[in-house]
């Protein structure tokens, strides 16, 4: 391109420059306006948004965990404690590669595949930036030392101390108190996120579950300013967490220990209640498990061992075991008979050892029936029917009463429903009725069904807790105290439709039945067939008056005309041994129910357990427990 050829013209050049500089200045003005508009847009128009963003950057709420309420037994023994647990945590934001970090960590501590999986799950669930995600729980001192010594090589890793539930008595109280567990995916869908912002555990069973709201306490928080690295630069505001409320139970840990020792390694349950207030004194289900194992998540192998054990240690027999009550139902039926006027104390029947319904060939046997025909109790009145546990008397009585009356009257004792206030897992058992039979079995109710009920067999099912509750009601002569675990809570506002009334039962009726139950234990030193059935097992050398009733529930049906030897059938098909009792008779302080699964006869196997428990409660003034010994047995230091 050719430029015009003229001699250097200074003025002309200057003119061109002025023109160009002017255009340049104009462009600069446009650029300046762009900057001004951009700044105004960010600083004035979007100001609020960016303030929010900047605050979000720097201000974090750091929730502070409340201390979970403690649980004490009636003697003030601490049965649910909080102990310091050192957990290995990882802040994912500070870690470049989690895989590499885990690999690196494994040269210092052991990490199982299960633990890794759980860890990755927790990361997915994390709710706050720079949250410390736990990887390992309850590190030993050696592990802590090794991690701390290699801190520089493990960025993002820290050992955090926190208070975690600990059950010093381990398996002894597992089924009574319940336990807490680490909050899992399912829980986190249900719980209020802010309430549990700092809390990692939640009551999953028993008292821990029912009183979760008050045990938990209120979450506190620190409003903190953090820098880009997530380090706290200052605490702007701090609200201290409120510790959860402590609970006091009616439970007597020493009594629980005695009950366990009495049961030994037999499967069974013991539930003892204070008749004066319905407080649960003991609630044992044997065998049990160590609830401490579950707090941070039990390993699959350990869990499988518990789950697959034929002894069902995870099963809470006291609350959920539904058994036929056997002969323990008889005093209650007797009371129904007296109060409805269907029988009198004087009425006697003849017991040949068997019973037959009209138009039915089936033979209903008494417990002392034999093929030789020498069985039977002879002339039997109500009293003897109870202390000798005569089946035939009650076959007849039940038939006379009819199922409708039996159902209505037995339900007054709490059968067929859950009555306990604060143990959510309790089962209702089954008190059958005509409608129940129609709805569930699509069958009519036959007299034979009533005959089965008479001796606590057939469709009637009760839990040990229900039977203990019924025994309490008997001890109280119908005064109702709702069973409950916790003593320092007010239940006056607790309402349901269960308000049993026994106005129709005369004082003499109660006396007669209770006397009969007393004879079960104390009537002794007579000729064969005249002693109380439990006397020879527990009635000797007893320094107080105990009322009781044994029961033996069949596990398998016995075929017509067949006799069996206890030793010949497999242990697991043996009868369940029951015993209910309360004492002292004149002023009852304890009522209980004992079941020994596949134990055999109730008087022989369950009654001694009851006697030991009641002896301990009434006679031992010093009921302190050796906590240390139990700690050891719970595997804790």
């Amino acid at each position: 391109m050719a430029a015009p050829q003229f001699i250097k013209d200074h003025q002309g050049e200057s003119q061109v420059y002025v023109e160009r500089a002017g255009i340049g200045a104009g462009i600069l003005l446009i650029l300046l306006s762009v900057l001004i508009f951009r700044m105004a847009y960010l600083q004035l128009f979007l100001h609020e948004d960016f303030v929010t963003k900047s605050d979000k950057n720097r201000i974090q709420f750091q929730p502070r965990a409340p201390v979970r309420g403690l649980i004490f037994d009636r003697q003030g023994v601490l049965i649910a404690d909080n102990a310091t647990s050192h957990d290995l945590t990882v802040t994912p934001e500070r870690v470049e590669s989690l895989e590499a970090l885990l690999l690196n960590l494994e040269s210092y501590v052991q990490i199982s595949g299960e633990q890794k999986q759980a860890f990755y799950k927790r990361i997915k669930r994390k709710s706050r930036p720079f949250e410390k995600i736990p990887l390992l729980f309850q590190l030993g001192e050696e592990d802590i030392a090794r991690i701390e010594a290699n801190r520089m090589r493990l960025p993002g890793v820290s050992v955090e101390a926190q208070l975690v539930r600990r059950y010093p008595f381990g398996s002894l109280l597992a089924h009574a108190v319940g336990s807490v567990r680490r909050i899992n995916d399912k829980d986190s869908l249900v719980i209020d996120k802010s309430t549990y912002a700092a809390t990692d555990h939640i009551g999953k069973l028993g008292v821990e579950r029912f009183y979760e709201a008050s045990l938990l306490g209120a979450v506190g928080y620190d409003r903190v300013e953090v820098n880009a690295m997530g380090r706290i630069t200052q605490v702007i505001e701090s609200v201290a967490p409120e510790p959860g409320e402590n609970l006091e139970l009616f439970l007597d840990t020493s009594l629980q220990a005695v009950a366990r020792d009495a049961l030994g390694d037999r499967r069974g349950a013991v539930v003892a209640i204070d008749p004066n207030n319905g407080g649960i004194l003991a609630m044992l289900s044997n065998p049990s498990y160590d609830p401490n194992l579950f707090i941070e998540g039990i390993s699959f192998a350990d869990y499988a061992a518990l789950r697959d054990s034929p002894d069902l240690p995870l099963f809470n027999r006291a609350l959920q075991g539904q058994y036929q009550p056997g002969s323990t139902i008889k005093p209650f039926l007797g009371l129904v008979g007296l109060s409805t006027g269907r029988v009198t104390p004087e009425l006697t029947i003849d017991d040949p050892g068997w019973f037959k319904l009209a138009n039915n060939e089936r033979l209903y046997r008494d417990w002392n029936w034999s093929k030789t025909g020498t069985g039977g109790h002879g002339r039997v009145n109500l009293q003897k029917a109870i202390y000798r546990s005569c089946n035939v008397y009650f076959y007849q009585l039940a038939l006379d009463l009819g199922i409708d009356l039996i159902h209505d009257q037995l339900s007054l004792f709490g059968f067929g429903r859950v009555t306990i206030t604060d143990l959510p897992e309790a089962r209702a058992g089954l008190l059958p009725s005509r409608t129940w039979m129609q709805e569930n079995r699509k069958k009519q109710w036959f007299p034979g069904d009533t005959v089965n009920i008479a001796i606590g067999q057939g469709d009637l099912l009760v839990t040990p807790l229900q039977l203990a509750t019924a025994a309490t009601m008997m001890a109280n002569r119908g005064v109702w105290h709702r069973p409950r675990m916790v003593s320092n809570r007010d239940f006056s506002s607790f309402e349901d439709d269960f308000k049993p009334e026994f106005k129709h039962v005369s004082g003499s009726a109660w006396d007669h039945i209770i006397d009969s139950m007393e004879m079960v234990v104390h009537r002794g030193n007579r000729r064969l067939g005249e002693n109380g059935v439990a006397w020879s097992h527990i009635g000797r050398g007893i320094s107080y008056r105990m009322a009781g009733k044994s029961g033996t529930a069949q596990v398998i049906g016995i075929k017509q005309g067949e006799e069996y030897e206890e030793s010949e059938i497999a242990e697991r098909q043996r009868k369940h041994a029951w015993f209910i009792a309360f004492a002292p008779v004149e002023n009852p302080r304890i009522a209980l129910a004992v079941i020994v699964e596949n134990g055999g006869g109730g008087s022989e196997f369950a009654a001694p357990v009851a006697r030991q428990v009641i002896d301990h409660y009434l006679l031992k003034s010093d009921r302190s427990v050796d906590v240390g010994a139990h700690r050891l047995s719970a595997g804790l230091q």
Binding site: A2, Q5, Y17, A21
Partner: protein, 356 residues
Amino acid sequence: MSQDFIRRMPEVSGGFAKTRSLGEIIHLDFLLVSIISIIILFGLVVLNSAIGQQQELFINQLTRIGIAVVVMFLLAQFPPHFYLRLAPWFYAGAILLLVLIYPFGFEVNGSKRWLRIPGLIGFQPSELMKLALPLMLAWYLNDRHLPPGGKQIGLCLLMILIPVLLIANQPDLGTAVIIAFSGFLVLLLAGMSWRLVIAAGGAILAMAPLLWFTIRDYQRQRILTLIDPERDPLGAGWNIIQSTTAIGSGGWTGKGLFQGTQSHLNFLPESATDFIIAVLAEEFGFIGVMILLVLYALLTLRGILISLNAQDTFGRLVSGTVTFTFFVYVFVNIGMVSGILPVVGIPLPLMAYRCR
């Protein structure tokens, strides 16, 4: 950059502005120096906050400003024709140093931009070229007929292309672009025909897609990040998200000196260097930013006025180019920090701390 600027402007003004007697004596333009001083003082206040009041760094900056003032005063004492005669040697020297980088330069963050004189501090030859190129072009055009013809333009383009390619290859694309820009600016101010300007602009636009495939991946990332910072909020987008947050949260009056949470809590990266305007915007708000922009505008205006009063083509072209380039630096830096331009390593003149 700040030092470069101070070094040159007075020299130009001192030589040509005859309006002020005080300025005449020390060969410095009083108004220009005043505006520069105010900006520097403002900059020191903001910098002190941005560096978290670390005395050592603050003294570093003071020392550098002191050196720059002395250099400015000294350079202002030489007459313009001294620089006219120096220009070709200066340019040749700068080219030589750029070439020397290839065998002797050392690498920082994957690019070779630095030379180190043994026993002395390291420096970037491209910084010298920012000065040397306009001087060279102005020297060349000074005794040519203007507006420049095809032959002259061709030669000028060659003079531009050599250093620009050398710098772009380091790689330092940002500096290469801005040096190329300052070269074109000389031609533009010299009166290059608009048709050619438009043709050149069109050619660059046409080559833009091609450029997309030749630039490096991180450069591409920066452009993508500009379009949508949220695509990688913790990586490439972080700087822009945090700087716009700092600016926006400042509002009208700002959070107050030393109160900027974005910078003091380290959310804002490079707060003392490339992103210092964000610190100012956060702590002094929109009003603070406007004061600074007005100061920059006044400074630029003063520079343009001085260049209009220059006696010959050389003086006009050098002072004009330097002035416009100065403002482009301001625009590019603030534009990048406020998220309307891609992130390039161009600091804010007279304010930023040079950490290297």
